[in-house]
Symmetry: C2
Subunit: 417 residues, 2 copies
């Protein structure tokens, strides 16, 4: 793709975003619903293209986990369509009034949600990101430019073509949804220099991809680098609940950013809780790396290094530490964590509130698994990404997080004294 | 200032921000009120230090406008103290619940406002920015690092010392309010590299300062480059009101970002409106640069160049153009404007709504002067800056715009299926 071609695509997206901002909710919902139906109707063609990616992935000897993320089937396609139907059913954030104030001089000042403009998403493997992000951007009246990974290029293009055709048929500006078909890495560099045309960049994928995008971009970036998520089991915890929550947070899907990487346990209950818990983990194939104190309680556990506490394993590995209480747990999380999702299991109201207040993470939990940090689980239909930044959006980004606002001021001749 | 010294100051700010996030509203309000009183009590000392800056500015032959911005007196000090009292009286944004949802599985998910962390403000001339920003940051529980211009260094340090002493006396962590006393430019470069310690940079000042900060920073920046503000006089406008609003927007204080730079007039009323309006401007010493059509209506007006439409004069100069109606006005504003503040004067509800919807500026006005784009005028007590960005904050930034949020999730043992 030439530099001129990239520039033109971005300009068309910018133009389309202006039109998109003015389209009514009914038209957007009709388009999104039609797009969901089209996914199901074109399942055969999409799955055939997806199969090409899967075959290439096997040839390239990608890991089983990566191939699993890549693979579509009827069930997954149905779930992609369901996400679109759910997005169509959500409240349109555009135009909603965030706050309204009448000033002593009679001016009425309203803070009104508006779309951000043009959003570039750079992502890896999972083809459902293509339809989720198109749905979320369309509903929030943002133009979207998709740049997926080369390993899923056939799937992404197939999904895009089906959705784009349906969008245009339903009165959505042609340039509002665009995909980069060229997998050359230099295209990304060129895209990241389109300041003024692209308003926001969201990278989703491995830490190295995200760091590279952040370093190169002159456009604002919203991201999370990694998810070193913790569960702290307080001395007052109901231990069977603590066990189930910890097990779910680690084992249910270890390769994702909201999975637990470190388990912290109050000293008071460590001897009672850890042997059973660790043996349950080991039975599920989880490798345990423990602090000295953990190793004194459960024999044969490998010693965790300083490095381990900082590590996002994304795998069936867990670091475990005994702490003196909620304060030491918070201190550990603030030092080693990535401010993504952290949980306390407790029956103490004061320890719960302390944890919620003092742990400075995007999502803080009491008595639930960190695995819930997810747009769909939060009722947002899907997610555009998960942010551990503090500027603009934190946690799962749904429709509201894809908006900015403007001040609308109505007067009757007021001038400034 | 050494690199190590800068790093230490930033680390202390980060540490202090953690403590500040947990301080209750009453303590913050007491500190801010005491700081306002201290400003008044120490007026003599502050004015004496300010006088040094004014003498230096005269020696350096700064413009009268700059010296005016720099100069403090009892009235201005009183207004600075009043801003602090007003901030103390505003609602504390920290901890307020933005939204709350109960999911079908029983999880209660709350989106709760939290401070951003450490904010670096880089600003020029006006010493009141020092106290306004300290007040806003303290109330929103953000640590602040101030880097003012060398021309106001004595004033800024005097104000800072008075406020800092009072803050510490009132139980605010010592590191939560910091000032850079070294006016060496290299200190700014070093500050802009403190990613992870500083969370947000707000540059306030001339366009070249803002561009330089944006280019060098690895930390998110919120800014506005310039204010090319428009007033469009619709054919249905009540002309005496249009005249007063336009006159106020240009003349009341021409050197600020929310002053009007371009007047757009509907062709239908141009011959009736322009001669009187332009003569009133000229009587006030405003130089008019008009389109060909304006020059046919009012003789002796200088021709506006293409460059003029893009220019923020910050002076008694105004470009004037005749347009065919609201659509052409919007098109002009979107092409030449800076998305800061734009107004329509009209009695047509549909033209008003069209203008409000389609002009993609931070602040859009109907029948009022653009000069109201100001934190104080918006009821925010003061402002940390004005943003023309779309990410995080737009328009005047007050307390709420100085917060981020976290998701607080309460469960009773939920795990993900």
């Amino acid at each position: 793709m030439t530099k001129a071609g990239i520039k033109k695509l971005c300009e068309e997206a910018k133009d389309a975003s202006r039109g998109l901002a003015l389209i009514d909710t009914k038209t957007k919902n009709a388009a999104i619903t039609a797009m969901g139906r089209a996914l199901l109707k074109n399942a055969y063609c999409i799955l055939r293209e997806n199969n090409k990616d899967v075959i290439n992935a096997r040839k390239a000897r990608l890991t089983a986990a990566l191939i699993d993320r890549l693979t579509l089937n009827n069930k997954r396609l149905t779930s992609m369509a369901d996400s679109l139907f759910e997005i169509a059913g959500l409240k349109d954030p555009v135009g909603s009034v965030i706050e309204s104030v009448k000033r002593p001089n009679g001016l009425v000042i309203k803070k009104v949600r508006v779309p951000i403009g043009v959003i570039l998403i750079i992502y890896e493997s999972r083809p459902n990101v293509t339809s989720d992000c198109i749905g979320l951007c369309l509903k929030s009246s943002n133009a979207i430019i998709l740049r997926g990974g080369s390993e899923a290029i056939n799937s992404n293009i197939a999904i895009f073509d089906v959705l784009h055709k349906e969008a245009v048929k339903n009165n959505i500006p042609r340039g509002a949804i665009a995909i980069i078909r060229d997998t050359d890495r230099r295209v990304v560099d060129e895209l990241l220099s389109q300041e003024g045309k692209i308003d926001l960049v969201i990278p989703r994928g491995g830490e190295s991809l995200i760091r590279e995008v952040s370093r190169k971009s002159r456009i604002p970036v919203i991201r999370h680098y990694k998810g070193v998520c913790h569960t702290y089991v307080d001395k007052t915890a109901f231990l069977p609940m603590a066990e189930d929550i910890s097990f779910n947070a680690k084992v249910q899907r270890p390769g994702v950013c909201n999975a637990m990487e470190t388990l912290l346990v109050d000293r008071t209950i460590a001897k009672k809780f850890l042997p059973r818990m660790i043996s349950r983990f080991q039975d599920a194939g989880v490798e345990i790396r423990g602090s000295e104190e953990v190793r004194r309680i459960v024999k044969g556990v490998r010693l965790a290094t300083e490095e381990d506490w900082y590590t996002e394993y994304l795998d069936l590995i867990l670091s475990v530490r005994v702490v003196s209480g909620v304060d030491e747990a918070i201190k550990h999380i603030m030092k080693y964590g990535s401010y993504h999702s952290d949980a306390i299991v407790t029956r103490s109201k004061s320890n719960a509130e302390k944890f919620l207040r003092e742990v400075d993470s995007a999502c803080v939990y009491v008595n639930a698994s960190t695995r819930f940090t997810d747009g769909n689980e939060f009722g947002k239909g899907a997610e555009m990404g998960i942010s551990t930044d503090k500027i603009h959006a934190r946690g799962p980004m749904g429709l509201e997080e894809l908006t900015s606002y403007k001040y609308v001021i109505r007067g009757n001749g007021q001038v400034r004294k």
